[in-house]
């Protein structure tokens, strides 16, 4: 828990109890959490935590770069605790969003884009959105 505290402080945020647990929940979360998700996850152990605070805290963490906003289509703002370049696989039948990390792929894409010299744009990050379909026969049954 100590280095989370340091991270917050180095960004100029007070290391409050709420921020520590919210940040930790986001980091340990295997999915890409929404405010609601974090709130539900923490409610049991921290009943006095309010949903409004979760919203504000996630926004602050994003503002200072400790979290990233995720682009989604599902009507909820989601966050991503990985702040380095990585990719996402959206499974069209199960609705899952999985991380996909591949340093080689990052290189391939960035090299390609660098060669192209798009307008007067300096590229900061790239993230691939892969839409796929799980061919697992067990899962197939669940297709709605």
């Amino acid at each position: 828990m100590l280095h989370l505290r340091d991270q917050l402080q180095s960004k100029g945020l007070k290391a409050t109890h709420q921020r520590l647990v919210i940040y930790q929940a986001a980091l340990n979360c295997e999915v890409h959490p929404s405010a609601e998700w974090v709130y539900e996850a923490l409610k049991q152990d921290h009943p006095s935590l309010s949903l409004g605070t979760v919203y504000k805290t996630l926004a602050s963490l994003e503002e200072v770069g400790l979290l990233r906003k995720m682009e989604t289509t599902d009507g909820q703002l989601r966050y991503d605790a990985k702040t380095h370049d990585h990719h996402h696989i959206f499974c069209a039948n199960t609705g899952e969003i999985m991380d996909f990390e591949d340093e080689e792929l990052n290189e391939v894409i960035k090299t390609f884009l660098a060669k192209k010299h798009i307008n007067n744009l300096s590229i900061r990050s790239v993230s691939l959105h892969i839409t796929g379909w799980k061919e697992d026969p067990l899962k197939q049954i669940e297709v709605k």
Copy 2:
């Protein structure tokens, strides 16, 4: 306007006046429109058109594949009239979202992913999210 009518009908949708103008507005739009955007754009010429109808119509068009939902971070559901694979450039200073089409890039990415054989996933589409920074000195002034 004729082939729009045909497209709707071929998908089993009645070619109503509202659908024709909404679909056309989405197609001619250089940005990636939200329901609100389409509504505002059409309000003048079609004052009886209701926002609820715009929501329903965009959802229907997406359902039959004439539009795609766009992943965003801005809290509004946006649509994209391009239904083939293409990429998006998000400009971090101006907030613009630009299309980026490059058949060669699609190939490079798909070939790479095909080689990897990710789990038991069949890849349906890929879309690259490029975050960049416009180096235009004129624009730099506007950075907030």
